[in-house]
């Protein structure tokens, strides 16, 4: 439990070590990166076993950092952050396994990768809005270099777009936080101090502050209409980075919305609630439809991420304990599933066939050439559609139940999104893996068959099994996480917001 802050330090140390060793040997950098990620994940799992769920944050570190502004280096954990810490460890480990084949400037790749992970751990552990913001920004810069250097398709454009959107989002957050801090004469950047400071202002200011902070974080969570960076960036990113970006970094935004933005002002939240909810619903449906017509395999996954993150935002907007606990569960579930989908598309299929065009893939009998990839993708697709037995089912169901309690119309509209998700997932499974290869198709297939695709390597298998195991385990036993999340929502910080609804 008390070792949790070490996840941050271990990641940054590992980054330095990978940078130094990577200039000598690529394998050393890989091993260092894997060991670092495993150590950090191990720390989160060890903390999880001894975790006693309770309302409110449990202190880890609290020392003055910049006394001139009342800023404390304050780390703490509750069930929500623990859920996301475990997810970070899992996604980071899997991502490194799927990056095993990086040969160009390997040390630098893993150094940036681990620095990004260190920033993510920092955000989830922060109990001071300023510290959270600092870690959030630390996570931004590595993303640019990971995509611009090691990415594919239009990578420099995608990298710049993703980073500028992230940074613009964080600028909105900074503006909102400073407004609350300075105008409300706060004594520091602790969450409760900021809430108190915001409460001292008039309703217009409160609404402005909440809108700025929420919009800033929601940009990183891929809320419509600021979602366009996500598909472009995630498609351009190298596989390991796409897994981490879609799987974990988008959750930073949603986590910021929940932890920092929502509690700021209950009065202003009531005003903004319908706007947030409808933007989330539009995101779910619009991104779903866009995913339905993509020609690029990876773009389908990119837009599906936006659609699924819409559920998280809808759960937050519904603002009752059921919906919000579902949203947190969906964060975890989507982190695992998006990682799997990106891994299959980016690593298992693209690195072997060198195409992501569905029209080209249609000509390949992938289910015969890459049976393992096909099985993993089908399972991940089923999980993504929200079929019972996988983590997507309890998560989306909980969100929809909670939303129904808040506003049945929202739940109905979002439920349409579930159908669309089923449609685009089934389409892409059918087209990419099980396209009909009748006799007239045999001829174009022949060249591919004469050059058999490289077999799936052990790191890919281990990574895929880890993620599959997680989504199935959670599908069968969602209470493992819900038991952590529900008590955390009883804390006074959330109580003012999460009114109504049966828990």
């Amino acid at each position: 439990m008390n070792a949790l802050p070490c996840t941050i330090y271990v990641s940054f140390t590992g980054a330095l070590l990978a940078l130094v060793l990577g200039s000598r040997s690529a394998m050393a950098a890989r091993v260092v990166a894997l060991l670092t990620a495993l150590t950090a994940w191990g720390i989160t799992l060890a903390a999880a076993t001894s975790f006693v769920p309770m309302a409110g944050l449990q202190e880890l570190v609290n020392v003055p950092w910049i006394p001139e502004f009342g800023i404390h280096y304050h780390l703490a954990v509750d069930g929500i952050s623990l859920t996301l810490l475990v997810l970070t460890g899992l996604a980071a480990t899997a991502g490194i396994l799927f990056s095993w084949n990086i040969t160009e400037r390997t040390g630098e790749f893993f150094a940036l990768y681990l620095a990004l992970i260190g920033g993510v751990y920092g955000v989830f552990l922060s109990a001071d809005a300023f510290v959270l913001f600092v870690f959030y920004e630390i996570a931004i810069v590595p993303k640019y270099f990971l995509i611009a250097k090691w990415g594919s398709t239009n990578r420099e454009y995608g990298a710049m777009k993703l980073v500028l959107y992230s940074f613009a989002g964080s600028a909105l957050v900074l503006a909102g936080l400073l407004w609350a801090y300075a105008a409300g004469h706060a004594t520091g950047f602790g969450f409760t101090e900021l809430v108190a400071a915001t409460g001292r202002l008039d309703l217009t200011s409160q609404t402005g502050i909440l809108a700025l902070v929420f919009l800033g974080f929601a940009t990183l969570a891929g809320m419509f209409p600021m979602h366009t960076w996500a598909p472009t960036g995630h498609v351009a990113a190298p596989t390991g980075a796409s897994m981490l970006l879609a799987g974990v970094v988008m959750k930073l935004g949603a986590y910021g919305c929940l932890r920092v933005a929502l509690p700021l002002s209950p009065a202003a939240f009531v005003l903004l609630q319908p706007w947030i909810a409808w933007l989330a619903i539009i995101g779910i449906i619009y991104a779903g439809f866009v995913a339905l017509v993509q020609d690029d395999f990876k773009f389908v996954i990119g837009y599906s991420s936006v659609s699924h993150m819409g559920f998280v935002l809808l759960g937050l907007a519904a603002a009752n304990p059921v919906a919000v606990s579902g949203a947190v569960l969906q964060m975890f579930s989507h982190g695992v599933i998006a990682g799997l989908l990106f891994a299959v598309v980016g690593r298992m299929v693209y690195e072997r066939t060198h195409t992501r065009q569905l029209a080209d893939l249609r000509a390949l009998p992938l289910h015969r050439l890459l049976p393992f990839a096909a099985v993993v993708f089908v399972l991940a697709g089923l999980a993504s559609m929200g079929l019972p037995g996988f983590s997507g089912f309890p998560a989306e169901l909980t969100i929809l139940i909670g939303t129904w309690q808040a506003r049945p119309l929202w739940a109905l509209a979002a439920a349409a999104g579930v159908l669309i998700a089923a449609a685009f997932t089934l389409r892409v499974i059918a087209v990419a893996f099980f396209s009909r290869t009748g006799p007239e198709r045999e001829v174009p297939v022949a060249p591919a068959a004469s050059h058999p695709l490289a077999p799936i390597t052990w790191p890919e298998k281990v990574g895929a099994l880890l993620l599959l195991g997680a989504t199935i385990y959670l599908g069968l036993s969602p209470d493992t996480l819900l038991d952590w999340i529900r008590p955390a929502l009883q804390s006074p910080a959330f109580h003012a917001i999460l009114s109504g609804g049966a828990s």
Binding site: I66, E68, E137, V141, E156, L178, W179, A182
Partner: protein, 487 residues
Amino acid sequence: MNADFAGLVQALRPEAHLVIGALLILAIDMVWARHRPANRHHVALALGLISLLMAGYAAATGGTRGAVYGGIFLLDPLSVATRTGVILLAVLALPLLPDSRRLRHPAEFTAILLFATTGFTLMAAANNLLVAFLALELASLSLYVLAGFDKTSPASAEAGLKYFLFGGMAAAFLLFGFSLLYGLTSTLRLDLIAAQLAQQGPTPLLFVALVMVLVAFGFKAAAAPFHLWAPDVYEGAPAPAAALIASASKLAGLVLFTRLLWGGLDSAVGTVAHGPITVGWAPVVALIAGASLLLGNIGALAQSNVRRLLAYSAIAHAGALLLGVIAAGRTGVGPLFYYAATYGLATVGAFGVIGALESAGRVQQLTDLAGLYKRSPLLAGCLAIFVLSLAGIPPLAGFFGKFAVFTSVLQLGGLSGPVGWLVILAIALSAVALYYYLLILKQALVATPAENTPPVRVTLPAAIALLVAAGLIVALGLWPSAVLGLF
């Protein structure tokens, strides 16, 4: 006036070290070193560093003495920190001295650099209009010469001439403003001027004087619309001169004018933090700040020359610094000093990288940086730290500077006045700024090097200076209170 010569000598020990050092460098060069071309450069560099370090030690340990020599100088925490800061920046800029193959007369260059530094330290402590003007001119005249020092390059001559013409004009405005102030109050001491003006109340003549002073201030800070010299000077001047102009000169100028505006003219400040706006210098400074933020950030987007890009980024930073000036008198000078000092460190570093690279060929276009990570990992790593600090990415010092200044401005009156909204504008524009800073880093860290580019050899002094600057940026970012707590 009580003529306390002993106190004056004590207070001016750093300046004495600098001037004696400069004269010694010239003498040794004339008598001995000029006949040994191989060592000439090293002798000048070593002597220059020694006298700068001695001066820095004297400045840092001299302590706060309050008013010195009848109030001609004021040694408060701000002066002590600024004197130490400008000397430190000069120490980091000097090792960029190109070797004698590219820069003839290294001894003269070093000596003039020391004179410029003397000007900066005097500016930091001046509390008297006449001394302030003389210090400013000593610094400016030295910088004009330094900017035009590279006799092999027409661009350097152009830089020197442009800087001189603009600077001369600004000095004329300043002197005119000062003479009006003296005429209004018949005193040269800032505290007495403040007392006089508080009695008299605002007069039209005072506002004429204010505008004159602000023109000179805008020039010194490279703020729009007085920025026109900056891109050309940054482009043409030798790297150490450009580094000094962009960093130490800016820090000293900001402190001088902050002291002048808040210490001498605070009765004419006007309000700009919350409505209704009243006339004074603060609304004008806010106007200049807004113009600089917009022009600097948008102008930088169009640049393909890395030095000009840094110049436009300097204009943008000047806008943020001017916002800090508006808050300095109310919420303390700590944020302003921290921002200016750490900005100076990052700029000296960025020009240091450019200077070190120039030993292997010209560095003007962004593409000249291509593949730096392969040619010199040290330079690439340092450049990343400096540029990201300029962009305001935590945990580097640049972020905390911006944060501290913006917070102190918002504490004046929240968003109820124009400066509050200027802060929001500045925060929004920082996303624009990240774009052009990443363009630099994209070339340095991502792009592959052009064919046949040799690896870069960095001299030991330059490498140490860059590492110290980078280390300071990281350390001050992790412990901002080390500086913020001084005031």
